[in-house]
């Protein structure tokens, strides 16, 4: 073939492609499947930069003191992805931002005054912080940095609560559960029930404990064994919280807990040497185990309680008496709720967001009743992106939800920390991704990103 013929072939091919692009709409449907077509306009006009908020012009390195957090796609159950249905050409609604109100400018630190007051007495008493969240905080991510900062300044030790059956590796605690010398992995050992996740994980009644999960043990049924053994060891990485001197086992009356020859009181703590970083716990009997807490007798104790796939609307599903008893007995002074990301992909309109906000309001009010001595801090979703054709852009409802959560916080007089704004607003997730701070799912932070988000949150929390 002569080069000129090949050249004509190339030209003709490009021309046919151009005609196809011109003829086909951006999206069409063939047998129920969406067919996208490149548009000549988008090819010829290069977008120079990502759309960003005006506050977002900062580089990732200079983003001010706030973290990012968002939950991953919310699925309380493993359900099938909705099948794409043939539908009329639908454009993602352009959502105008909520108009600014006075509530949007309020610095919600003022709603955390009891917590700050308690911190001043942390040299003699315990100040407990319970950090609930979705998958963003799994494995002690983000929480670890907050704990490190608070314990570094106000003292305290221990990594806080861990469940009996740990299915998620923690950065700060090595956790091994054995039965008859055999390590119990996921699906083995005591039956776990969760207040979140698939409905098949629920139990009858609402006794899930403060971690939202319970392990039901019955060692009498285990042949040749009369106890479970739990080895807990705080890792070097945890630094500040590595050493602790008290152990608490949240459980029902039928379960006995021992460390060596020492019985752990049912409603109290077992005192350990000050430099404890490892403990071996023996458990036997029948009943519920809600969690094991490694803590100090003064200073700050911070719990990390991740709930994978959760939207944060489950607290009313946990018995109020259990929560009240825990918050009261452990001197909980701050409850952090970090949710919202799991609902973002499924909220299409402002009405959807409002419905979610009202559900969150009920949870906040419920927790206030359960922990009257504690302040509450809500952390909204981080920036989240979706792909629209070849472009990656922020979900339209993220800024809306962020604004509405801020207003909810003012209404309910709780703290609010905007991860979305901390990341630089719109396009923040993509910038974090490019900086290696967020994963390729544009949902979760990388370890570095989680550390950064945690540091920012700690700075904000400590009003630095």
């Amino acid at each position: 073939m002569k080069p000129i013929r090949i050249f004509l072939f190339i030209l003709l091919t490009l021309a046919v492609l151009a005609v196809v692009c011109w003829l086909l709409p951006t999206k069409s449907y063939i047998a129920g499947n969406e067919l996208r077509s490149p548009q000549l306009r988008e090819v010829l006009e290069i977008e120079d930069a990502l759309p960003t908020d005006t506050v977002a012009a900062e580089s990732v390195d200079t983003i001010a003191a706030e973290p990012v957090l968002r939950d991953t796609i919310v699925r309380d159950t493993v359900v099938a992805k909705p099948k794409p249905q043939p539908r009329p050409k639908r454009v993602v609604p352009v959502v105008e931002e909520e108009e600014d109100t006075a509530a949007d400018t309020i610095d919600t630190h003022i709603y955390l005054t009891r917590f700050y007051a308690a911190l001043q007495g942390a040299d003699t008493a315990v100040v407990r912080v319970v950090h609930y969240g979705d998958s963003q905080v799994e494995g002690d991510r983000i929480t670890m940095m907050v704990r490190r900062a608070l314990q570094g300044r106000y003292g305290g030790g221990g990594a806080g609560l861990v469940p009996l059956h740990q299915t998620i590796h923690m950065r700060t605690v090595t956790h091994t559960l054995t039965m008859n010398g055999a390590t119990q992995s996921a699906g083995q050992g005591p039956k776990r029930y969760l207040v979140y996740g698939p409905k098949s994980n629920r139990r009858e009644g609402n006794l899930y404990g403060p971690m939202g999960q319970v392990a039901v043990m019955n060692t009498a049924l285990v042949k040749g064994s009369d106890s479970l053994t739990l080895h807990l060891s705080t890792t070097k990485e945890s630094i500040g919280e590595r050493y602790y001197n008290r152990l608490r086992v949240l459980r029902s009356a039928g379960v006995q807990a021992k460390v060596g020859q020492h019985q752990v009181p049912l409603n109290g703590t077992l005192t350990l040497p000050d430099s404890t970083s490892k403990v071996t716990l023996q458990l036997c009997g029948q009943g519920d185990v809600y969690g094991i807490s490694m803590e100090s007798d003064k200073g700050v104790v911070v719990d990390n309680i991740p709930m994978r796939g959760c939207a944060g609307t489950i607290f009313t599903g946990i018995a109020a008496e259990q929560l009240q008893t825990f918050f009261d007995a452990t001197q909980t002074r701050l409850i952090i709720l970090q949710y919202g990301g799991n609902v973002v992909p499924y909220t299409k309109t402002k009405m959807d967001v409002r419905k979610y906000i009202e559900r969150i309001r009920r949870q906040v009010q419920y927790l206030k009743r359960c922990a009257p001595e504690a302040d509450i801090l809500f952390i909204g979703p981080s920036d989240m992106v979706q792909r629209d054709g070849g472009n990656i852009q922020t979900y339209p409802m993220v800024p809306v939800m962020d604004t509405m959560l801020q207003r909810l916080a003012v209404d309910e007089q709780i703290g609010y920390y905007s991860l979305f704004r901390a990341m630089g607003g719109r396009g923040g997730m993509q910038r974090w991704r490019e900086a290696g701070l967020a994963g390729s799912d544009y949902i979760h932070f990388t370890r570095r990103g989680a550390d950064k988000a945690g540091e920012q949150l700690a700075k904000w929390l400590m009003n630095e």
Partner: protein
């Protein structure tokens, strides 16, 4: 205006990539000029073609790396000049002088490579060894493709010294050889002896070769977008970023999928380069030969990135002593061969990236090769002893059984090799594109976390849900591996039949493939789904 600016202006964030429309428009424009020059095939026109393509290649490199074009030009000039010095010294029997010129040339080549690629690593190693805290003040940006063209010019100067290649008389021809744009940034590493003779041959492309060129381009594009990018974005990267969010099965699947991804990515790029070069009338050497069909790591490295393997063999393994000497001393053949192979693999690992995790990866491959060689030697020895000691039964049934057993043995070996190679990549993938210190830490931590999940947190109950929810990813993986494992003669058959199609059918197929590829480029991100709570 934006469109033209995108094609012609330098933008460090937006290099010309084979997977972008802009590259193809660029190619169309380039091909227009090329066709115009080749209207007549005189010697002068051929020379003009070479100059034209060299300028186009330089422009392409400028689009990709901006001012680093200077390095390419410097290396071209220095190697071109020093090659004459080497040759002249050789002709005058002044071997020492020839060696000196060659060494100087290699030092210049490697100097650029070490500065731009290994400076951070070198400082990191120095600090570790001597407990110092030096750091590099200026940010060093790695020029695109420097590893490839440095190796290319190094092979040229060594070949001139070895008298296997004549120095190229015309610097423009030599510049064209060094910078030929289809293979400039990602190989294959072309030797002068393979490429230079083509500069003086008239353009000739049969309809069949034209069809093959288009086939390679489509093949590469599909591999790159479907099997590499789609799998990466929708599963693999997520798992490698946060292994603990996923169960053991998901980690394992992602690890194997990564093996397909890295192959599809690299070989896809090479396929496109081969096709584009062919359209311009140049033949590039084969770079991949279904590497996951290999029965042992040694064979794998003969099939994977063949141009690099050949380069390492010729310019590292053999100079190290090959299977004859070790550090200049004559030793046992097996011993020399194994140690030199291992050292070559370490260097090969370092070539892939400037951090310890790549060295570890290279070392693991080296160990794998040695173990496989020893295993084969042991097997042969045992089998030899058995056949000497006993007379084995024979006959048609026994023969059939032997063939059957051989097939099973082949299958096991292929799967074992694939698994081994896949697991070594724990170190390869985890530390890519990071500074050396971070790369080592991240690679190690990621590898540990993934192994921890794979060995412990294996929740088999979620496997069906995972397979269903990620069916597009799983299906692509199965299709990709199935095609990879198709018999070679069958692949050759459908390739040839494609090439023989009428031009307008080929064009329609091109349009259809582009539309399909576009669906994957713009597909919604796979929703994140939890299977374990």
């Amino acid at each position: 205006m934006g469109f033209l600016r995108h094609i012609f202006a330098f933008d460090s964030h937006s290099p010309l990539l084979f997977t972008q429309l802009y590259f193809w428009v660029f190619l169309a424009i380039v091909y227009g000029g090329f066709a115009l020059i080749m209207m007549r095939q005189t010697r002068r026109r051929l020379h003009l073609r070479n100059v034209y393509l060299m300028l186009v290649s330089w422009f392409f490199y400028y689009k990709t790396s901006g001012i680093f074009l200077f390095i390419l030009a410097t290396l071209t000039l220095s190697n071109w000049l020093l090659a004459f010095a080497v040759r002249r010294a050789r002709d005058r029997q002044a071997d020492m002088r020839a060696r000196m010129w060659m060494t100087l040339s290699i030092l210049i080549n490697l100097g650029f490579l070490f500065y731009y690629k290994y400076a951070y690593f070198g400082v990191d190693v120095f600090n570790s060894v001597f407990g110092t805290h030096y750091s590099i003040v200026d940010k060093i940006i790695l020029p695109v493709g420097i590893s490839f063209y440095v190796f290319q010019v190094t092979s040229y100067i060594v070949d001139v010294y070895r008298r296997t290649v004549q120095p190229v008389r015309n610097i423009l021809d030599f510049g064209f050889y060094v910078s030929f744009f289809p293979q400039l940034v990602a190989g294959p590493i072309v030797r002068a002896s393979e490429f230079i003779p083509q500069l003086y041959k008239p353009f000739s492309l049969s309809h069949r070769m034209f069809g093959l060129a288009v086939f390679w381009i489509l093949n590469g594009l599909t591999k790159k977008v479907l099997l590499s990018d789609y799998l990466a974005v929708n599963l693999i990267d997520r798992v490698f970023d946060n292994p603990l969010l996923f169960t053991g099965f998901e980690n394992l699947f992602a690890l194997f999928a990564y093996s397909l991804q890295v192959y599809a990515d690299f070989s896809g790029y090479t396929d496109i380069a081969t096709g584009v070069a062919l359209l311009l009338g140049f033949y590039l050497p084969q770079n991949f030969d279904s590497p996951y069909k290999s029965r042992n790591p040694q064979e794998f490295w003969r099939r994977w990135h063949q141009s690099l393997s050949r380069w390492l063999k010729s310019y590292v393994y053999i100079p190290l002593g090959g299977n004859r000497t070790l550090l200049g001393r004559k030793v046992n053949k097996l011993w020399a061969s194994n140690v030199n192979s291992f050292l070559t693999m370490l260097i090969g690992g370092l070539w892939h990236g400037a951090s310890w995790n790549f060295v570890i990866w290279g070392g693991l491959n080296g160990i794998g090769m040695i173990v496989a060689k020893c295993w084969k030697a042991l097997k042969d020895a045992v089998w030899g002893a058995v056949t000497r000691r006993w007379t084995l039964p024979s006959g048609p049934r026994i023969q059939a059984l032997k063939i059957h057993l051989l097939r099973v043995d082949n299958l096991i070996c292929i799967l074992l090799t694939f698994t081994f190679i896949t697991f070594t990549r724990l170190f390869f993938r985890s530390g890519s594109n990071l500074d050396p210190a971070t790369a080592n830490r991240v690679a190690w931590e990621t590898a540990v976390m993934m192994m921890q999940q794979i060995s412990g947190a294996w929740d088999s109950a979620i496997i069906p849900s995972f397979l269903w929810q990620y069916r597009s990813v799983v299906l692509l993986f199965i299709i990709g591996m199935s095609i990879h494992w198709l018999p070679t003669h069958f692949k050759r058959w459908y390739r040839l039949n494609f090439a023989l199609l009428p031009w307008w059918v080929i064009m329609l197929i091109v349009v259809a493939v582009v539309m399909i590829v576009y669906q994957f480029v713009t597909a919604d991100l796979q929703p994140f789904i939890y299977f374990q709570f």
